[in-house]
Amino acid sequence: MEDLSLHILDISQNSLRAGAKNIFIVIRDLPEPDLLEISVEDDGSGMDEELLSRVTDPFVTTRDTRSIGLGIPLLKMAAEMSGGRFNITSETGKGTKIVASFGRSHIDSPPLGDIAETVVTLIQGNPDVRFRYERCTEQGVFSLDTKELAEILQGVPLNEPEVLQWIREYLEDADADI
């Protein structure tokens, strides 16, 4: 994966496959120490302790088209290579939360990438899932919640092209601000 926005897209696909109806994505700058933290939390089917203990192993997957799963191991490796940490918690029937941090000034720290495109891609493919995206920096907090957008849209689907275009530009504006 070239950047963190692609990792976030990938990890969120796991949440979707686990049947999540609510997915919260947070990207947070932590000034002391110099870390960037991303987290993806869902209310999907979750995992039992046995699967959870093996899930960072690349030879574990729930998919049946191939017998290996690289998404979580790749994220863990990227975090640890940059001096950050990786943590996953999960409970059957409740959901899963993944938190990964990256040393921002570390030479192996991946760039954030196009987070607007990741959020728009998720909404395009899953207009009935609620996504909340939050970005916290020293300048402030920005958040976007598709539940609030759906209330404004009153039945117009979130994945109508014009709506997606608005969301993209809204996110890009916010990114320039904070």
């Binding site: 088209t65 191939r66 990741t118 891609t121 957008l149 404004i152 117009v156 014009e162 709506v163």
Partner: protein, 123 residues
């Protein structure tokens, strides 16, 4: 100009007046992009963005763009499948943004399969 919530209200009003909101039905052509780890790492996200953009720009009706997980041939990702009613599925492999735009104009608009990008032509 900054995007505002008021603009989203305006989009809603425009859409609600427009009866021709895209409907899902059996006559629709489905374009499916593989969006699992293998696809994403190989560049599926910009491929999807290009297809959505091109379908929208050309105002193609009866085309729905969706996403799926791993299609099973990871080394040929990004993969795009096109399902048209009454026709055999066409699988495009090793896609990129430009090829994706070309497939929309040739396959979806001009009804000509772009043979050189199909799985049959892949080594």
């Amino acid at each position: 100009m900054k995007k505002s919530i008021e603009e989203l209200n305006a989009i809603r009003e425009r859409m609600q007046q427009n009866i021709q909101v895209r409907t899902e039905n059996a006559d629709n052509t489905r374009v499916v992009v593989g969006m699992a780890t293998c696809g994403i790492a190989a560049g599926a996200r910009p491929v999807l963005t290009a297809i959505v953009d091109e379908v929208n720009r050309r105002k193609l009706k009866n085309v729905t763009v969706t996403q799926t997980g791993c299609i099973g041939v990871c080394r040929l990702e990004p993969i795009v499948e096109i399902y048209e009613p009454g026709k055999e599925k066409v699988t495009y492999v090793n896609m990129d943004e430009n090829k994706a735009r070309q497939v929309v104009s040739e396959h979806l608009v001009n009804q000509r399969v772009v043979d050189e990008y199909t799985i049959g032509a892949a080594k």
